[in-house]
Amino acid sequence: MSQITLDGLTKQFGDVEAVRGIDLTVESGEFLVFVGPSGCGKSTTLRTIAGLEDATEGRILIGDEDVTGLDPAERSVAMVFQNYALYPHMTAAENMTFGVRSSFESDAAMQERVQEAAETLDIPELLDRKPSELSGGERQRVAIGRALVREPAVFLLDEPLSNLDAKLRVQMRAELLELHRELETTTVYVTHDQTEAMTLGDRVAVLDDGRLQQVATPQELYDYPDNRFVAEFLGNPAMNVLSVDVVEGETTYAAEHAEFRVPLPDHHDADLSRVAGSVAQFGVRPEDISVRATESGRQTSDGTAADESATAPQTVGEATASQTVGEATASQTVGEATASVTVTEPLGESLLLHCDVGEDSLRVKTQPRTAVSPGDTVVLGFDRDRLHLFDPDDGTTAYHSSPKGEAAPTRTVAEMQD
C-alpha cells in the first residue's frame, strides 16, 4: 500500500553531511516518529521524503514506486509544518482548498471534503475565519485539516506541536493519536521532544549526527537501548553512566567501581566474557536505583529518633503490605553503594536525589516523601534486571542484564504474587 522505504538515503548541503545513509522501512499504516537532538538530520530526512530536498544519494520508495526524482506534488504526501504555514489572507476553508481544486471533480465535492475534515477536527465553525483570528491550536487544526483534505498516501508532520503551549500540546497529542487510529494513514512525525516520541510512535527512530541509532517500539528503546546515545537521550532524568571495571568472579561477573561492586547476572543473550577484564561504561536509570538505607548527616545532633524515622520507609527486606512497589524493586536489588546526597529535587510524584559516589555522581529517583536531605549518607542498590554496559570506545551496548523481550515486564507481577 503506502509503506515508505528509505534505501541508503544521504543528503549533503555543500560539505555538510546532514543525513548519512539511512535505511528504514515505515510499514503501511504505521506511525513512525523521528526523534533526536537539533541538527541530527531528522527534519532533513522528512523533507527529503516530502521532496522538498533532493536526496544526494540513495532511494526513496512510497508504496512500490521509486519517488526519489519526483516533484513533491507527484508523491501523494501531505505535510504539516511547525509554523502551520497557513496563508494569512485566506480563510481557513480557502487555506484547506488552495492548490487542490484540480484534483476534485466539482467544487461541491471539494466543499464536502472540507466539511468532513473540519468535522473530524471539530472546527466547522472556524472555516470562514482567517488565520489571524484563530488561536495557535485552531491554526494547527486547520493545518492538519489541509492535510486531510488531500487524502495523501503519507502524512509528514514536522514538529507540529512545538509552537503550542504545554497543556494544548498534551491534548493535541491525544487527538493526533485518535486521528491516526481512525485514518490509519502511514505517518512520519518529527520531534525533538522525547515524550511526544514515546507516546505517539508505534515505533521510534532515534537519530544522531545524521545516522539512525536505533528503531524500535518505545518500550524496547527505553529498556534495551542499542548504544549509549539512545540510552542517555531517552528518559528524563537521563540514565546514569559511570566507568567501571568488569571483573570475572568464580562463577559470575561483576561491575566494580571504586565505591561499589554490582554482580552482573549472566544469561543466554549476554556475552560478558567479551568485556571481562576491561573498563566499561555502566548504565543504570535513576528509577532503577533504590535507597536501601539512609543515615542522617545530622544524626549526632538530632539523636536516634531522626535516624529511625528517616530509615523506616525505605528499609529493605522487611517488606510490609503497604510497600508493594518498593518491595518489587527491592527484592531484585543488588549491589551496595554508599553515597552522600548533595541535592534533593522533589518532583511531586517522585523525589530526585543527586548523590556523590566517590568521584562520580548519580541521579536517583526514589519515592516521594522519603526523608532524605542534603548531607545525608545513603546506601543505594541497583535493580538486577535493569543494568547496562556500554563499550567505552564506540558507545555500543555490550550487555543488558535481562534478555530482550523476557523477564523485565512480567517479572514484577509474578514476584508480587509470591
Binding site: 513533491p72 509544518f81 511547525q82 489572507h89 488552495f98
Partner: protein
Amino acid sequence: MATETDRRSGASTAVSFPDVSGGQLLVHGGLVLSIFLMGLPLLLALVMSTQTTTEVYQVTNLQIGSDGLSNYETALSTYNLGQYMVNSFVMAAVIVVGKVALSLLAALALVYYEFPYERAVFVFVLLTLLLPVPVRIVPLFQLMADLGWANTLLAITGPYIASATAVFLFRQHFRTIPSSLVENARLDGVGPLTFLVRVLIPMSRGMIAGVAVITFVYAWNQYLWPLIVISDQSKQVVQVGIRFLQGASQSGLTQWGLIMAGAVIALLPPLAVLIALHRPLLETFSLQQK
C-alpha cells in the same frame, strides 16, 4: 510608591494639555516653526498663483491677489496644461504598472529560484542605482534614436521600468514570508506564477502600494529626460509644460502668477495619490528602516 505617583502625574500631563511644561513648549514651538518653513514655498505659490504679474513683483504683497482663479483658467485653456497632465498621467501609470510587474517578477526569481551567481546578479541590480537616468542621458538618447522610440511614450517610460529600489524592496519583503508557505505550495504542485498571483501579491499589498506611490510621484516629477527625448509639444509632460508657461511673458515680465498656478495644478495628482495611499507608504518606509 514613587513610581506610582510618577505614573499618575505623567498620565495627567498627557491628558490635560494646559499642563505643558516650558521645555515641551519650546519643542512644540520648534516643530511648528519647521513645519511652517517647509510649507512656506507651497503657501507662497498658492498666494502668488492668484496675483497679477504686477502684484507678484511687489515683493511685500502677500495677500490673496486680484486675479482670483483666472491664472488657473489661462494655464489650463490657453497653455494646454490639461493635455500635458493627461500625458504625464499616462506616463506615470505605465511606469508604475511596468515597474511593479517587472520588479515583482525579478524579486520572485531572486528569492524563490536557485540559479548560478544569484548573489552577483542581485549585487549587479543594486549597482544600477549608481547610474540613474541623468547620467545615462547621452547613450540613452542614442539608444532611443536607434530603436526609433524617440518622441514616443516608450521613450519616456521604458528607461524607468527597471528599478533596483523596487526589486530590493520586494526581495526583502518576500524574504520575510516564511519558506514553509512556498513549500506548502510546492507540495500541492502550485506553479510559481499562481503562487505569485494568489499568495505573494495578496501578502505584499502594502509593499506594492508603497512602491506604487513612490514610483508615481517620481515619474510625475520627471523633467529633464522628457524635455530631451520628446520633441512633439502635444506629447510633452506637465513638468515641461510648466516650463512652457515661463515663455509667456507680459511686457517683458515673467508671468509668475501663471507659472505658480501651473505648478499648483501639477501638484494635485501626486498629492491625491499620497493622501489616498499614505498608510501603505509609511509601511514601506518602516520596513526599509529594519
